[in-house]
């Protein structure tokens, strides 16, 4: 994977990367945005996943909740991605070599696939079971998978800060 490492080294030498690394306040501010956006993105998504499992907000029509929650989860996602990319940019080689960062990345890819499966399948059929007592099996599966994957991503994300293991690169 020499190409990825080369890209990381190139990014590390850019002025934006150096700027974030060397400034006293930029990194803490970006990190705070990343953590606080978690409430908007993960908090609302969590409640939605629990709704898909039939655990939270029972009696609320799923098609309507999703239509209203999605824009806010989307805003949260944009904030998470923008701040996350900047954090990565500040120290790309270290992140690339961190085992927890790789686990987080794999989790993100799987969560994205789960979201796509939701979008092209379950999302279209939401109006069919709006307030049904027990959500369809596929919906429960998607909600459960999302909960597990995002838990993994958050835990791995927090662990990135620790260097328990030798860097991989």
């Amino acid at each position: 994977m020499g190409v990825i490492l080369d890209i990381c080294r190139y990014l590390e030498a850019t002025s934006i990367s150096v700027g974030i690394r060397e400034s006293t306040w930029t990194y803490p501010i970006i990190e705070s945005v990343h953590v606080l956006s978690l409430t908007l993105f993960m908090g609302l998504l969590l409640l939605w996943d629990l709704r898909l499992l039939g655990v939270s907000m029972r009696g609320f029509a799923v098609s309507r909740i999703w239509a209203r929650l999605f824009p806010w989860i989307g805003v949260g996602a944009v904030l998470m991605i923008a701040s996350g990319l900047l954090l990565f940019w500040s120290d790309p080689v270290r992140f690339y070599g961190n085992v927890f960062f790789r686990i987080k990345f794999i989790g993100l890819v799987l969560a994205l696939l789960n979201a796509l499966a939701f979008h092209f399948g379950i999302e279209r059929r939401l109006p069919d079971w709006d307030t049904a007592l027990v959500p369809p099996r596929a919906a429960r599966f998607a909600g459960g998978a999302s909960l597990l994957l995002w838990t993994l991503i958050i835990v791995a994300g927090r662990f990135v800060a620790y260097n328990w293991f030798k860097p991989l690169v």
Binding site: L38, T39, M42, G43, L46, S56, I65, V155, A161, Y162
Partner: protein, 158 residues
């Protein structure tokens, strides 16, 4: 007096247990973040609604009732993970940490506000939405909880 209590906490079995483990502090931090998501989601769901955003077709009262167990669960998770985190460095780090002190002030204010004024408003029948009073309640709630979060993140940088 307070300093003594913090030093004692760090030398209690809880503080020692966290410090002796290689993984405990990090695992507790991760649990603290997961609980933050749940607490934040439950708070925002209702505050957005009070501001006339988000789930605007649902009655505030119904939504606040549905969010309440998750708010309590998130809060319980924050405390259960937060107390051992505090214990592990109570005397040597947190006692003299300005961000931690401010976080506790914000937390006290946020809890008081959430379970008195905000709760009374959200669970009342036919609360006026969009009125200035309603908006101020939602904005105050978001600001107080944001203060807790920002100061919490600040502890590590102080």
């Amino acid at each position: 007096m307070m300093q003594l209590a913090f030093v004692w906490l760090e030398h209690s079995w809880l503080g020692i247990a966290v410090n002796e483990s290689k993984w405990a502090f990090a695992a507790l931090e991760a649990g603290h973040l997961l609980s933050l998501a749940m607490l934040g989601g439950a708070v925002l769901l209702v505050d957005l609604r009070i501001l006339g955003w988000g789930l605007k077709e649902e009655p505030i009262r119904k939504l606040a009732r549905a969010a309440q167990p998750w708010l309590i669960a998130g809060l319980a998770g924050m405390i259960v993970t937060g107390v051992p985190l505090l214990a592990s460095l109570a005397g040597s780090k947190y006692y003299g940490n300005e961000a931690f002190r401010l976080k506790m002030y914000f937390l006290a204010a946020a809890l008081l506000f959430t379970f008195t004024i905000r709760q009374r408003f959200a669970l009342r029948e036919g609360s006026p939405v969009g009125a200035l009073q309603a908006k101020m309640i939602a904005v105050t709630s978001v600001l107080l909880w944001s203060g807790v979060g920002i100061m919490g993140r600040g502890i590590g940088f102080y």
